[in-house]
C-alpha cells in the first residue's frame, strides 16, 4: 500500500462511477414511466434527453471505472507507482467536468447547437465534448504507457491486454466523430465506436481484469490463466472485428455483409463461453480461501452475464434472416439490458469492491450488504430482461409479421412495460444499497487501520 501512494487517488473514480450508475438507473425508471404514460407532463424532461443522458452517463461511469481500475491494478503489476500521479486527479476532474457539460448541454441546448448536442445514439455528446473527452483519454493513455515503459517487472499479458483495451477504446472513439454527409457512412463509422467498444476494447478490459482478479484471489497457476486469456482475446478479436457486420445488414451497405456479419457474429459466443469455463475451472480447483466474497460474486456474475447477455442474447437475433424481423424492436433493448449491466456493471462493481476496502484498509467489512445488493441487481435486471424479451417477441410478431401499426402494438406491450418498471425499481434498490455500502467502506480514515 504505502509503496504506491498514488493508488489512494483512484478511490474517487469508483465512488463517482457507482453514484453515476445510480443516477443512470433513476433516469431509466423515469423513462419507463414515460413509455407507459406517453405524457410529457408526467416526466421532468422529454424522452430523447432522458435517453441521451441514460446512455452518456453509462459511457462516462464505465470510463471512470475502467480508468480507475487500470490505475489501481497497474502499480502492482509493474512494480512501480504511476509515473504522473497528479494527472490521475486532473483526469478525474476533467472527466467529471465533461460529464456535467454533457448533462447541461443535453438539458438546455438540444436542438439549439450542434457543437453541444449531436443527437446520435450513444454519441449524443456534442463535438466540443467529443474533442475534450478524446484529449483527456489520450493523457490517460500517455500516463499508462509511460508507467509501463518504466516497469520494474516483466509485463504480463493481462496488464498488456488491459492497456490495449484502454488504448483501443480511445482510438475507436475517433472514427465515430468524423462528419460524413452520407447517412450510410455516418452509421458505418458510428458503429465503430459502439461495437468496437463493447465487443473489442471493453471486452479486452473485461478479460484482463477478470484474469488479474483471479490471479490475485486464487492459487490458479499464472501460466494457465495467461494462456486462456491469450486464446480468449485472440478469439474475441477474430470474431468481433468482422462480427461488426451484424450492424451493416440494413443501413445501406452491400448485402455481402449479410454473409460476413452472420458468420462471424454467430461465432462471437465462443470466446465468451471460454471465459466462463476458464473462470469456473480456476475457482473449482482453487484451494486458497477467498476472503472477499463480494468480488467473487461480481466477477462470476460478470463472466456469466457476458456469456448469457452478449453471447446468447446476441446470438438469438444476430443472423440476418432473424434480424430482418427483430432489428429495431424491444429484442435489441432486452439484449442491451443484459449485456451491458451483466458484464460491465458487475465488472466495475467488482473492481470497486476489490479496491475500496484495500485502499481504506477495511478488509474485514461486512459483506452482507454487498451480497444482498448483488442479488437485488440480478433479480431486477432479469425481470427487465425477460419483460423486454417477451415484449420484443410480441412486437416482432404483431408489427413485423402481421403488420399492425407501431402505436397499436405499443398499447399491447403496456403490461410488459409495467413489468419492466417493477424490475427497474428492484434493481434500483440494489444499486442504492451497493452505493451506500461502498461509500460506507470508503469513508474510513485513510491509513488508520492499515498497518495493524
Amino acid at each position: 500500500m504505502s509503496e504506491y501512494p498514488s493508488r489512494i487517488k483512484t478511490r474517487k473514480y469508483f465512488i463517482t462511477a457507482v453514484l453515476l450508475f445510480v443516477v443512470q438507473m433513476l433516469i431509466g425508471i423515469v423513462m419507463s414511466v414515460d413509455v407507459l404514460s406517453r405524457d410529457r407532463s408526467t416526466t421532468p424532461l422529454p424522452f430523447d434527453i432522458l435517453k441521451a443522458l441514460h446512455l452518456n452517463l453509462m459511457v462516462l461511469w464505465l470510463l471512470l471505472g475502467f480508468v480507475g481500475g487500470l490505475y489501481y491494478l497497474l502499480p502492482v503489476e509493474t512494480g512501480r507507482d504511476i509515473k504522473h500521479p497528479k494527472l490521475i486527479d486532473i483526469q478525474f476532474w476533467l472527466l467529471l467536468l465533461i460529464g456535467i457539460g454533457i448533462i447541461i448541454s443535453e438539458i438546455f441546448f438540444t436542438g439549439r447547437n450542434w457543437w453541444l448536442v449531436e443527437g446520435r445514439e450513444y454519441v449524443e455528446a456534442g463535438r466540443l465534448w467529443d474533442i475534450l473527452l478524446t484529449a483527456g483519454l489520450l493523457t490517460v493513455v500517455y500516463n499508462v504507457i509511460a508507467t509501463m515503459l518504466e516497469s520494474r517487472n516483466k509485463l504480463s499479458s493481462p496488464i498488456l491486454v488491459l492497456a490495449a483495451g484502454t488504448v483501443g477504446s480511445v482510438l475507436m472513439y475517433v472514427p465515430g466523430e468524423i462528419w460524413f454527409d452520407n447517412i450510410v457512412a455516418a452509421e458505418y463509422f458510428r458503429w465503430w465506436v459502439v461495437h468496437y467498444w463493447v465487443e473489442a476494447s471493453f471486452e479486452l478490459i473485461a478479460a484482463g481484469v477478470i484474469a488479474l482478479i483471479l490471479l490475485a484471489m486464487t492459487d490458479a497457476r499464472r501460466e494457465i490463466i495467461e494462456k486462456y486469456l491469450a486464446i480468449e482475446v485472440a478469439l474475441i478479436l477474430l470474431t468481433g472485428i468482422i462480427g461488426q457486420g451484424h450492424h451493416y445488414y440494413w443501413i445501406g451497405t452491400p448485402d455481402s455483409w449479410l454473409f460476413l456479419g452472420g458468420l462471424f457474429s454467430a461465432l462471437e459466443p465462443v470466446p465468451l463461453f471460454l471465459m466462463v469455463w476458464s473462470a469456473y475451472k480456476d475457482l473449482k480447483e482453487n484451494h486458497k480461501p477467498i476472503l472477499n466474497i463480494v468480488v467473487l460474486y461480481m466477477i462470476a456474475g460478470a463472466t456469466l452475464g457476458n456469456f448469457m447477455g452478449a453471447g446468447i442474447w446476441g446470438f438469438i437475433h444476430t443472423l440476418p434472416q432473424i434480424n430482418f424481423y427483430t432489428h429495431g424492436t424491444q429484442i435489441t433493448s432486452s439484449h442491451a439490458h443484459f449485456a451491458t449491466p451483466g458484464t460491465y456493471l458487475l465488472l466495475v462493481l467488482g473492481i470497486s469492491y476489490l479496491a475500496i476496502p484495500d485502499l481504506t484498509g477495511r478488509m474485514n467489512f461486512s459483506q452482507y450488504r454487498g451480497k444482498i445488493g448483488f442479488w437485488l441487481l440480478v433479480i431486477g435486471f432479469l425481470n427487465i430482461i425477460f419483460a423486454l424479451l417477451i415484449a420484443g417477441v410480441i412486437q416482432v410478431y404483431q408489427q413485423r409479421v402481421e403488420g399492425l401499426s407501431f402505436m397499436s402494438v405499443q398499447n399491447t406491450l403496456l403490461p410488459y412495460f409495467e413489468w419492466r418498471l417493477i424490475g427497474g425499481l428492484i434493481a434500483f434498490a440494489g444499486g442504492l444499497l451497493i452505493a451506500y455500502d461502498l461509500i460506507l467502506i470508503s469513508i474510513t480514515k485513510v491509513g488508520s487501520k492499515m498497518n495493524k
Binding site: G111, W114, I242, G252
Partner: protein
C-alpha cells in the same frame, strides 16, 4: 505459441480484412445504389434545402432519441427510414406534422423545441433521402413500411384483462430466479461449513 503472438494474429488478420471490406462497402462499383445526399432536395418558399443540411438538423434535434433511422436509435417511436413514403411523399404534410407533433402519442410539437419551419423542411429533405436508400429490403412488408396515416391509431387505454399474462410471467421468471439464488446460497453455505 507465444501468448502475445497469438493475440496479435487475432487482432491483425481481421483488422487487415476490414480494409478491403470497408472499401467494398463504399466503392461505387460494388456498393448499394444509394442516392447522393447533396442532390436530394426539397423546395420551400423559393428556397432549396438538401439532405446534407437535413442530416445535421436531424442530429441536432436528437430525432434518434425517440425514433429509429435505418432501425438504429430508440424504440419509443416509429422508424423514420420510410416515413416519407408513408406520408405520401408530401413535403408539406411531413414538415407540418413535425412542427405540430402528436402530443397524445408522446411526440412533442417540435416548434416548442425551438424548431423553425426551415429546419423542418431540411429534415424533410433528409427523410426523402433515407427513403431512397438501398437497405437490402429492410423493413420489408412490416408495418414500418405501411403504417399509413400518422393519425390512424390513437393511444388506447390498457386492457385490464391482459394483465394475467404478465402476472404469470412475473411469477414464472421470479420463481426460477429465486430457486437459483437459494440453491446457490445454500450450496455456498454448506461448503463454508464443510471446510
Amino acid at each position: 505459441m507465444n501468448n502475445i503472438r497469438l493475440i496479435m494474429i487475432g487482432l491483425l488478420v481481421p483488422a487487415l480484412l476490414m480494409i478491403p471490406f470497408s472499401i467494398m462497402s463504399f466503392y461505387t462499383d460494388f456498393a448499394n445504389r444509394n442516392p447522393d445526399p447533396s442532390l436530394v432536395t426539397v423546395d420551400f418558399n423559393q428556397k432549396t434545402y438538401n439532405a446534407i443540411e437535413g442530416k445535421k438538423e436531424f442530429e441536432q434535434y436528437q430525432c434518434m432519441g425517440c425514433h429509429t433511422i435505418v432501425g438504429n436509435g430508440a424504440y419509443f417511436a416509429p422508424d423514420l427510414t420510410t416515413v416519407y413514403r408513408r406520408m405520401k411523399e408530401n413535403d408539406a404534410l411531413l414538415a407540418n406534422f413535425m412542427m405540430s407533433g402528436a402530443p397524445a402519442k408522446g411526440m412533442p410539437p417540435m416548434k416548442e423545441r425551438s424548431m423553425n419551419i426551415d429546419d423542418a423542411y431540411r429534415i424533410t429533405a433528409f427523410l426523402k433521402y433515407t427513403n431512397m436508400l438501398d437497405t437490402n429490403g429492410w423493413p420489408g412488408e412490416g408495418s414500418w413500411d405501411r403504417d399509413g396515416d400518422p393519425d390512424s391509431v390513437s393511444p388506447e387505454k390498457q386492457n385490464v384483462s391482459d394483465i394475467w399474462q404478465v402476472v404469470l410471467g412475473i411469477i414464472f421468471i421470479n420463481s426460477l430466479v429465486f430457486s437459483i439464488i437459494f440453491a446457490f446460497e445454500r450450496r455456498n453455505n454448506e461448503q463454508e461449513e464443510g471446510s
